[in-house]
């Protein structure tokens, strides 16, 4: 068992693994019971096991672990499918993030265990605590009152500021797996370019040209921080008007903090509104973020990262196409994502014009 309390970051990076071709719920449930029984030393029964519909990448299950020792725990299991959106999967970014942020002002679920090698389950996975609360849908015009949304949005920005104040160099996230000398933020652009250049992806001339422009014109960051990578409305749990956990750390890395701010401002994640959560104007968002983070926002860098956000969105759609078409991932949502490409690329072209 790679226990969260004993595993440290000095260990060698485990390589991505490939297990059985599909993730079958019944098989996972049985394997999970065997795994927890073995690693806890007590017979553990899995109850209330169910697949959560949310999430397009890691497969998420909720369950209760009933142990002969008498301790029942509500937990979350996240499994990286062998043919999923970003396969092959590594648990490292999420594990490092959850470990590094425990006890800071950034609320995260407590990590319980993880296995890059898959153990009994056969695919990379990690287990964390279940946190009660609601996950707001970013695409819908929420039925929540504006006052409630504003209170949440203010916390959302405050937490982002806290995240960006953390000294990234003191965390395992600062260790680049590729050992490259390239600037970290340029490396992030290059990684998406490489993803789009895979031979099975359809070629889009504006993405090829725009990706080169982004790589050639990537601004220097005000300072390098932990970047969540998918910081948006919908990636947190709120309970009684309080954000109690920030979720989905799979794209976390060290880079330019403008990246998170630009991603959070994308209208797609704010019910098509230019306002954060539909309630806070852009200028106020910037002002609040600057005060929370201590970072002065550069209009030029923000425009660059708004273009980059759309480029990433396009690359993610292409990952979905590949997962569905080439790797035969059995999820029709992947096929549907491909239909968004024309509108995303047109928006990207306009954003590049603004950033140039």
């Amino acid at each position: 068992m790679q226990d969260a309390t004993t595993r440290t970051d000095g260990s060698p990076a485990p390589g991505p693994v490939r297990g059985p071709d599909t993730v079958d719920d019944d098989t996972v449930r049985a394997a999970l019971g065997r795994y927890l029984t073995r690693t806890s030393g007590h017979r553990t029964e899995i109850t209330h096991f169910s697949r959560k519909s949310s999430g397009f990448s890691w497969i998420t299950f909720g369950f209760e672990a009933r142990s002969a020792s008498g301790a029942d725990r509500m937990l979350i299991l996240r499994v990286g499918p062998p043919n999923g959106l970003f396969a092959p999967y590594s648990v490292q970014p999420q594990v490092h993030a959850l470990q590094s942020l425990a006890g800071t002002g950034v609320p995260v679920p407590a990590l319980v265990a993880f296995e890059q090698g898959g153990a009994e389950i056969g695919h990379p996975f990690f287990i964390c605590e279940h946190i009660e609360g609601a996950v707001p849908a970013p695409w819908a015009a929420s039925m929540l009152a504006d006052g409630h949304k504003r209170a949440i949005a203010l916390q959302f920005l405050s937490i982002l500021g806290k995240l960006h104040r953390i000294d990234a160099r003191a965390t395992p996230l600062a260790t680049r797996p590729d050992k490259s000398d390239e600037r970290a933020e340029v490396g992030a652009v290059a990684a998406w370019r490489a993803s789009l250049a895979r031979p099975t992806a359809r070629y889009y001339p504006l993405l090829d040209w725009g990706g080169k422009w982004l790589q050639d014109n990537c601004p220097l960051p005000p300072r390098r921080t932990i970047v969540h990578g998918d910081y948006r409305i919908g990636n947190f749990i709120e309970r009684d008007g309080t954000i109690v956990a920030i979720l989905d750390w799979e794209l976390t890395h060290v880079g330019d903090p403008h990246e998170d701010l630009a991603w959070a401002l994308m209208p797609t994640f704010n019910a098509r509104s230019r306002k954060l959560y539909g309630v806070i104007e852009r200028a106020e968002v910037i002002d609040l973020y600057q005060r929370a983070s201590g970072i002065t926002v550069s209009a030029r860098s923000l425009a660059f990262y708004e273009a980059f956000a759309l480029y990433q969105a396009a690359a993610i759609q292409m990952c979905a196409v590949r997962a569905f078409e080439v790797d035969r991932f059995n999820d029709m949502r992947m096929a549907v994502m491909a239909s968004q490409m024309p509108s995303i690329i047109r928006a990207f072209e306009r954003a590049l014009e603004a950033a140039a």
Partner: protein, 169 residues
Amino acid sequence: MSTSYERQIDGIIEALQAHVLPNNADDFIRGQVFSVIFALNGLKLAADWKAGPLLQQVRVQDDAFAAVRRLADGMAHPEIPAAPRIEGDIVDAAHIEGLRDDGDRLLGQLLLWATGEGVRADNPLAASEIERLLRGSICDQLKVELATTPKSMLQQIAGGDGDKAATPG
């Protein structure tokens, strides 16, 4: 289209078989699902993507190639194919899609060339004009695809909720 027609049909059938049928014991609903699977298998054998929008995209590309050829007269440039690339009534969608994809690659090479430092230094006005023309043409192509894209149902797809399905168009 970024996913192939046959794979789309297979994916729908797989989703019904793997996710819908195992979770439904109602005989009538199961009969409906099996009928849908049968109909989809029929469509797989008898139908394909529409050729019209693909043909329209190839024609937009051809117009761009012809315009770039005029603007780049006398300059050393990447390959520009002779247009029109399709004569007569070709209805083989796969063939037209191949031409469209080839055209996209050539447009990408031309755009990278026109925005390169060498061309910008030697012929700044022509380079800017070619860049503007290519970007506009590629966006026009995207408009053709948008016309055949249904309205987004991301909210329902991501959350699995909502009674109202978006209508096409």
